[in-house]
Symmetry: C2
Subunit: 392 residues, 2 copies
Amino acid sequence: MPGFKDQACIVGIGETAYSRNSGKTELGLMLEASLNAIADAGLKPHDIDGVIPPRLYATAEHFAANLGIEDLRYAVTVCMGGASPVAALQSAALAVSSGVADYVLMAVGFNQASSKVIRRGVDPIDTAGAIPLAPALTTLAEYYVPFGSSTPVQWYSWIATRYKHLYNVPDEAAGAVSVACRRHAQHNEKAYMRGRPITMENYLDSRMINYPFRLLDCCLETDGGTAVVVTTPERARDLKHRPVYIMGACEGHPYPADDIPSRPDLFKIGLSYAAPRAFRMAEVGPADMDFIEVYDCFTYIVLLQLEALGLCQRGEAKDFVPGGRIELGGEMPLNTHGGLLSEAHTSGMNHIAEAVRQLRGEAGERQVRNAELGLVTGWGDFGDGALAILRR
Amino acid sequence: MPGFKDQACIVGIGETAYSRNSGKTELGLMLEASLNAIADAGLKPHDIDGVIPPRLYATAEHFAANLGIEDLRYAVTVCMGGASPVAALQSAALAVSSGVADYVLMAVGFNQASSKVIRRGVDPIDTAGAIPLAPALTTLAEYYVPFGSSTPVQWYSWIATRYKHLYNVPDEAAGAVSVACRRHAQHNEKAYMRGRPITMENYLDSRMINYPFRLLDCCLETDGGTAVVVTTPERARDLKHRPVYIMGACEGHPYPADDIPSRPDLFKIGLSYAAPRAFRMAEVGPADMDFIEVYDCFTYIVLLQLEALGLCQRGEAKDFVPGGRIELGGEMPLNTHGGLLSEAHTSGMNHIAEAVRQLRGEAGERQVRNAELGLVTGWGDFGDGALAILRR
């Protein structure tokens, strides 16, 4: 059996406050979250010998210099946008299970709310001769922007509109995702949207941003950082918390990944490739999960992923999400922390942290009872995807 | 024993012509080299399911779209400047030995000679709020450029000047590296400097660029692309060439990696950390090598690496290089293709291609007789390093 089932585990998670005006740099947020994750694991910063920095704002060397890592043995970057944190679990697992590194740190820091830097990064004016950090940048500059499409809410609307039309997806199906995430955020003291509950009526009344996406279909833009530490089960024995095992972790890329409209099948997303492989590695199925943390940049993107995961057939997510099934207390609680829609946006690294918290039994009033198995997905750029299956 | 000794091998190498005015894009050069490497392996483009693109000019998705890779399973980027290709062998070996991917493609394409884009990438004016692709960029903008130091020939001169002073390194020691590489290029039809041999007198007469670096201490800036394909020994059996096994591959980072002058020991470079680990994994020593392909952005950087490899003691490279020892026919032939100094600059990916050619016994008039073991080093940014030990 190829892969690294149960040969690596998550032993530390760390977060900053999630806000809309941190007053801190992105690197500062990453380091703050990293120190929290390292302390959570019961390690010292210099114990870290592998780093997977995000694509933006910092390199492995910045982490090493700031954390005092004298002998850095492993450093790669995963360039899959919002799918990067989950895909990075694959690389972290490879590094520790092979002995190339002992403790791998993954961190994300964003000032999406208070900074303009992230926007400059996708400014088509800057991209003409620029470094193509993402396939988005060149395709954007050359094909999308000239026709007026320059942001995710526009690109993904092509997919969502087609999906809605083809399968008669009612607004309320997307609304069920939005409402569930917001409800869960009320039980999470870190959630930016705590204290601001919504109803389905609020969802349906929210203003249209770009059809079919209403305001309440769209994730937050926040400031914040999240970090995770990965090691081997043997090393985990001496650490502070019960480890959370990585049963499977895979990435997938739609074809072609660098352009949306030229795909013969708009709903064959990165996760459609990653999910069967990850479940095979983990030797479990989607229905075995006690909860699911699904990348929720937009509600309709969650619906697509439920189908790609195999939780329901294509076009049937609309029948899966109503009736409280995806809410706490339901059969398959989704985004128990509130997700990108209602907790914060740290590129989905916060989804991994929440899954670990649930599997440790430390999720407080939002704890899924007897949670033993959970999954985390990532979605990035033009539909890159990743899936990690975790167990306590 | 941690690691992946002999669990992965190089089965394909591909190059473009090396020139100073390709008239092609960087992506085009990478793809041309990639197609050559894939054909050299006896594979089809769509067989590739893992890609390690360079930090610049292209993402994995660009490769996937252009090569027709429908199910891309593995994509990471190694951000270590010129150490990236050799460090990427570590990631490629992890990916194939674990079964995460079957065939991993690594490629580099550069238009250093004909394009200004690479220079724009390190333009301090662009870096103020820019994405720190390399630790160099932020340190450069904030600490070096204000004092007049903005290019590698300046930063590395700090190290080389101290080294030269402390160990009384004569000009002729650096010259021996320059002359050896140029001599070897005369036996390589792809080498940009073929037909332009030099003597030690030519070296000593060449104009000073930035002390202690003369013109003939500095590598070429060329246009070109080089690519490599990695798979498992099992899969290699069905392919076209005898595989070249990766016995060990490790990366190392000096401390702190993001700034040169603040290091307590300027000569403790990335390779100083990587080399002992790589030799341990490979279970061989430096003296066992039949040839060495050493990253040669500047001659003095080669001398430092000979010491970090353990081929000689610190300060003694000056006594190691004279008398033809590092030339073809000598005890330890260095950069048998001509290196960055005299073949071309594809970020050291061409060093890997040459090592494979030597170990296949396909190096023609520059073949090292009975070459069974060889090593390749990488050097990048402010002294990041990597080492791969290969066998036939």
